[in-house]
């Protein structure tokens, strides 16, 4: 079945039509950059996930975190459940790894703010 998605490569927001049964053929794109985006969005959509975790030992009680690479979109909720169990102790530095290979992906969950 042909799927319709909005391209986010640039602000124009082309309505792409992608056909999974025809080698993910992309139509409706105004420029060539829409093609790889459209294919990837249907084959394997991924997102960088950002959230916060609890931190103790500082005036700040929440520490911002992110996956250092995009993870499969379908695994965002599973990743959130893991993130919600994390408790850090200050000090932490930007880039400190909290969870390696989160939800079986190549991405690590890392700290985004120096605290403490």
């Amino acid at each position: 079945m042909i799927e319709e998605i909005i391209c986010i490569v640039c602000p124009r927001g082309c309505h792409l039509k992608v056909d999974p049964e025809n080698d993910y053929e992309v139509t409706g794109n105004a420029c060539p950059r829409g093609i790889p985006y459209g294919k990837a969005e249907l084959k394997n959509p991924t997102r960088v996930l950002t959230s916060t975790v609890i931190i103790a030992g500082d005036d700040l009680t929440r520490c911002p975190v992110k996956t250092d690479q995009a993870i499969p979109k379908a695994k965002m909720h599973e990743a959130m459940q893991l993130i919600n169990q994390v408790k850090l102790n200050s000090p932490v530095k930007v880039g400190d790894v909290i969870i390696e290979n989160i939800v079986g992906s190549d991405a690590n969950l890392v700290v985004c703010r120096d605290i403490g």
């Binding site: 909005i6 986010i8 997102r47 950002t50 700040l60 929440r62 979109k73 930007v94 985004c112 703010r113």
Partner: protein, 428 residues
């Protein structure tokens, strides 16, 4: 006037604009700089913007808000630029030679500081329910989206379980995703305009990813609930923004988030007599970011509301550079320079700068502006002088109100202009 301390430059506000402005002024050779911030931390709004996507233009990589501001905070610390945290700038006064900033803090009490130049970088604040006059009760559970973002991301409080969002500005869209990821149900995002207020990327990644419906040309017309919000009424609006009777839909929610616009925070500027442009709600500025009050410069969201922090940084660097020139070379602008006043036609909301001193433009002057409606087909941005002669035109394949536009006008074109007015319009 009596004063406690003296500086070459005082920057008011330690968000992205203030950080970049102070750093650039330091790079240009100023050593005696003070950066004033009312919060206990530098970084401003970026501290609560934990999502990524910052820095794509400026650093060519995607950073979260705290990571973006850290790059500037680290440089500030390396260069030992003086920072006054937890310090409120109460008022600003302007005289010929000096600018006086009255401050208050727990550590230093009330102080009067004087400075050769001041950069306004106070940012903006959110438009509230009162300002858009939504009828209904005053139950708990009605938040500005940015306020909710602070509670959730910095303080760890969830603000509600079943949420409706009014306005499709970027903060509202980002919060739709954030609340969903944290376990809330976001039932809808409602936008009074026929087009979304936020960036396309956020429509896709914050609403579509989570199957949150976006209702364009709709608004909230009633909020019910005694202690806590219980129900909101949503109605379709006609072309004039008036609710259409008979289109009422009811949503049982406990929380309403408002993302209905940002207003530059210019109380200090107004008090100092800085002239404000009613279209931007920010100071009127020349090409070098100087306001119409000598020695006072402005940049970032206090000047006009931006959609990308990268542009704030660039604008702030220009303001920092110009303020340093002013301090080092005195009034370094050309006396009696020819001043061009930029006007906009009805398709354009505003331009920044509003005035250009032609002789002081080095090679190019970058003009930022926002269109008022969506242009899906190619259109032309045309600059005309007083005699209606076309000075320059720029093709755009498409334009959106949510995306700030900019063009760089070469000095040699400016030199050719007859008269003192330059009008920007959208044609074709």
């Amino acid at each position: 006037m009596q004063f406690t301390k003296e500086y070459e430059l005082i920057v008011i506000g330690g968000g992205p604009a203030g950080l970049a402005a102070a750093l650039e002024a330091h790079k240009k050779g100023l050593t005696d700089i003070l950066l004033i911030e009312r919060d206990k931390y530098l970084g401003g709004i970026l501290n609560q913007c934990i999502h990524n996507g910052f820095g794509l233009h400026y650093f060519k990589e995607e950073l979260t808000g705290p990571e973006y501001s850290k790059r500037f905070m680290d440089q500030l610390a390396e260069n030992e630029i003086e920072v006054a945290l937890d310090t409120m700038a109460l008022s600003l006064e302007n005289s010929d030679d000096w600018r006086y900033v009255h401050t208050m803090s727990m550590t230093d009490g009330y102080q009067i500081l004087r400075s050769k130049a001041v950069i306004l970088a106070m940012g903006c604040r959110e438009r509230t329910r009162m300002q858009i006059q939504i009828p209904g009760t005053r139950a708990a559970g009605i938040f500005n989206a940015g306020q909710a973002q602070l509670y959730v991301n910095l303080e760890g409080y969830m603000v509600g379980k079943k949420v409706i969002i009014l306005g499709s500005g970027d903060v509202g869209l980002i919060m739709a995703r954030r609340m969903t990821l944290e376990g809330a149900k976001v039932v809808a995002c409602v936008e009074v305009m026929p087009h979304p207020g936020g960036l396309n990327r956020n429509i896709v990644q914050c609403l579509k990813d989570f199957d949150i419906p976006l209702y364009l040309s709709h608004t909230i017309t009633d909020i019910k609930g005694h202690d806590r919000v219980e129900q909101v009424t949503v109605q379709e609006v006609d072309q004039n923004g008036k609710p259409i009777p008979g289109t009422e839909t009811y949503y049982d929610v406990d929380t309403v988030l408002l993302s209905v616009g940002l207003i530059p925070e210019n109380e200090l500027s107004r008090e100092a007599g800085v002239e404000i442009d009613p279209r931007t709600s920010g100071p009127i500025v020349y090409e070098n970011s100087e306001t119409l009050s000598k020695g006072i410069f402005a940049c970032g969201n206090v000047l006009h509301v931006h959609d990308l922090v990268d542009f704030v940084t660039e604008e702030a660097e220009s303001a920092g550079y110009s303020a340093a020139c002013f301090v080092q070379e005195g009034d370094c602008v050309t006396e009696e320079a020819k001043i061009l006043n930029l006007k906009t036609d009805s398709n354009i909301g505003y331009s920044v700068p509003q005035k250009i001193r032609v002789e002081d433009v080095d090679k190019l002057v970058r003009v930022f502006f926002r269109v008022k409606k969506i242009y899906k087909e190619p259109a032309k941005i045309v600059f005309r002088d007083e005699t209606n002669k076309e000075i320059a035109s720029y093709n755009r394949p498409f334009m959106f109100p949510a995306e700030m536009e900019n063009v760089s006008l070469p000095r040699k074109l400016l030199d050719k202009i007859t008269g003192t007015e330059l009008t920007i319009s959208v044609e074709g």
